[in-house]
């Protein structure tokens, strides 16, 4: 497998020969990811496509330090992270990684601004003290300045995902991981949300990795990969139906 080169000058995240397997019945191992090589540059936008059950979410969990690889090496901002403690992973996640989920995963009962300031509860010093101001500013930036006191059940799907994006970006992370960010939205709203996500991560200099089965969403990225049967393949001519099926090489 050829190692895809990052387009950006500086590497933010690198995976070398990463695999992930889980034990199943009869002491057997199920390999979900096999020999993954990936380098992501600072500020780069990567799109990863793949059908259901190909290991997309497992890969995202590993990229987001929510899960650890079974084998292989992994670095984040120059720091080996494949075997770090859960507390260290939590610290890196809190400071440098933002998540956007398919189902938005907003905290129920909290207003938009409370949701956006939630990650800042784990910050310290001035960042913690100014959390409300930062959250409001981020919501303004995403065009939700008039919705800051609205609770999730009073927001449309697109608005909820914008709140989720604001929450992912409020601590100015180095990496944003988006798991099917348009999966729960209609086509037009999904396109608008992706434009916002792409634009705002570019503006803030954060790298964006989008995992999706939506080819249009994947093609907004500067580089695309397809994930098939646990293996990651670069897609050189844009994501296509063949790439989604894992037939593109």
């Amino acid at each position: 497998m050829s190692r895809p080169e990052p387009t950006a000058a500086e590497t933010l995240l690198s995976l070398r020969h990463v695999s992930r397997s889980v034990p199943i019945a009869d002491d057997q191992l199920l390999t979900i990811l096999a020999d993954i090589d990936l380098e992501v540059g600072v500020g780069e936008h990567i799109g990863i496509v793949g059908r259901s059950g190909t290991g997309k979410s497992t890969l995202l969990n590993i990229l987001g330090l929510l899960d650890a690889p079974t084998t292989g090496d992994m670095e984040f901002a120059g720091e080996p992270v494949q075997k770090i403690s859960r507390n260290r992973a939590a610290a890196i996640r809190g400071r440098d990684i933002g998540f956007v989920f398919q189902q938005f995963n907003l905290l129920p009962g909290r207003t938009a601004v409370e949701n956006v300031e939630a990650p800042l509860m784990y910050a310290t010093g001035r960042e913690f003290r100014n959390r409300r101001r930062s959250a409001e500013a981020m919501l303004e930036r995403l065009g939700l300045g008039d919705r800051i006191e609205a609770k999730p059940n009073r927001l449309s799907g697109g608005e909820q995902q914008r709140v989720a994006i604001a929450r992912a970006l409020v601590r100015e992370p180095k990496l944003v991981l988006a798991d099917e960010p348009t999966g729960a939205l209609d086509v037009e709203t999904g396109r608008q949300v992706m434009e916002i996500l792409d634009g705002i991560t570019k503006d803030s200099g954060a790298a964006l990795i989008t995992i999706t089965h939506d080819l249009g969403v994947a093609n907004m990225a500067t580089r695309q990969f397809s994930l098939s049967q646990g293996c990651l393949h670069p897609v050189l001519d844009g994501a296509t139906a063949e790439a989604l099926a894992g037939e593109s090489r």
Binding site: S57, N61, G64, L66, D67, R86, N87, A90, A91, I92, R93, G94, R95, F99, F101, N105, L107, P108, G109, R110, E114, A118, P119, M121, Y122, A123, T124, G125, F128
Partner: protein, 399 residues
């Protein structure tokens, strides 16, 4: 560290605000339990204080020793009285005893405007009011200078004053004494009447008793109020010293206050009430724990989301526990407030103490109530907090 603590409080408060109905329902049990516990502690302390006041009025404060000084071969004449007084003064100075008083009793009658008024007469010294917790409602208690008054000073209870026809608010007042030639005394103060006294009571200074009752014997018993921790040893030394000074006297000292009876009287009642309160508290905690455990299962996704923000296991544990602590603290404060209002209610005072004594609501009851609230919250919160830390982040986010 401070930021983490502050953030946990903020998170806990948000959680309580969002789920106020659930929280309210789960906390009713805790609030009731804390209220009950505070009531028991409060009632117990108030009853103890009320009983202590009553016992101290009857038998003196802890520790009161009664010194019996009886001449072995003669009556208690004037020279003996003088010897005793001098010996007691010297002993009190030597051992630093600040409160010492004669204590004698006799029956007397005085001719009142509407007929003879009978009274129990107590022969005392000026320290007696402090030693027996006597509170003067009107006028004043004795001073050392009253011994020199030609018209002897009297402090009378309300019953005596009522029978004699004196309005306590108009004190001082003159009363006529029995005997010839005609003599008078001055009532300088009034004290509340004892509950079960048949007659009125008057207090007169030691040495002036014969002016009120010609057949009254000179006082041979004296009370001294000393620190309980040194009382026994001190009483032995005082006895020894008085024997040295008073040859020909039979000298003895016995502890005569009722302090040790209070625990015997109230101990079992307090213990039973305390056990009942702890059981109520335990049930309240179980209810809270039950609801918290169910709730935490419903909040797994939220916990997963927070972990994705960078929340550590420790932080999740602390936040979930703080939710419980903040909630029970609020419930406890409400419970304590209700308990204090109940304890201060005039109806309760009337029922508990017959309105005669109204001890203050003890601050210790409120402190115990609040500490128990915080402790119950921490205990009931720690189990769901442990469950929350064991949630797998990936499963939680997808829950």
């Amino acid at each position: 560290m401070i930021t983490g603590f502050a953030a946990s409080i903020v998170e806990a408060w948000q959680e309580l605000r969002v789920h106020k109905v659930r929280v309210l329902m789960s906390l009713i049990g805790v609030g009731v339990a804390v209220c009950a516990l505070t009531l028991v502690v409060g009632f117990g302390n108030m009853m103890q204080k009320g009983l202590a006041d009553s016992y101290e009025q009857q038998g003196g404060r802890a520790a009161t020793y009664t010194l019996s000084l009886n001449p072995t071969e003669s009556e208690m004449g004037e020279s003996e009285v003088e010897k005793v007084r001098s010996a007691l003064d010297e002993t009190a100075d030597r051992f630093g005893i600040s409160h010492i008083s004669a204590y004698g009793q006799a029956e007397t009658t005085v001719p009142g405007p509407a007929g003879t008024v009978s009274a129990s007469m107590y022969i005392v010294d000026p320290d007696f009011d402090v030693m027996r917790r006597l509170s003067v409602d009107h006028g004043r208690w004795f001073t050392a200078g009253d011994a020199a008054n030609l018209s002897p000073a009297v402090v009378a209870d309300e019953t005596f004053l009522s029978e004699y026809g004196i309005d306590p608010t108009s004190l001082p007042a003159t009363i006529e004494l029995s005997g010839s030639p005609k003599k008078t005394a001055t009532v300088i103060g009034s004290v509340p009447s004892s509950e079960f006294q048949e007659y009125g009571e008057i207090y007169v200074l030691n040495g002036q008793e014969k002016q009120f009752a010609a057949d009254a014997y000179a006082v041979t018993e004296f009370e001294m109020w000393v620190p309980p921790e040194v009382g026994e040893e001190l009483s032995k030394q005082v006895t020894s010293d008085l024997r040295r000074q008073l040859p020909g006297f039979d000298v003895s000292a016995d502890r005569t206050d009722f302090a040790s009876d209070i625990d015997e009287t109230l101990g079992p009642v307090k213990n039973v009430l305390l056990v009942i309160s702890i059981l109520i508290l335990f049930m309240g905690m179980l209810g809270l724990l039950n609801i918290s455990l169910v709730t935490i299962q419903q909040r797994i996704r939220e916990i997963g989301i927070r972990r994705s923000f960078g929340a550590t296991s420790r932080r999740i544990f602390f936040s979930v526990m703080m939710e419980s602590v903040v909630a029970t603290t609020i419930a406890g404060a409400v419970g304590v407030l209700i308990a204090v209002l109940v304890l201060k209610a005039p109806l309760v005072s009337e029922f508990m103490f017959d309105g005669a004594s109204t001890p203050q609501v003890p601050i210790s009851a409120a402190i115990v109530g609040m500490l128990v609230s915080v402790g119950a919250g921490a205990l009931a919160g720690s189990v769901p907090a442990v469950v929350a830390t064991r949630v797998r982040i990936i499963d939680a986010i997808r829950a």
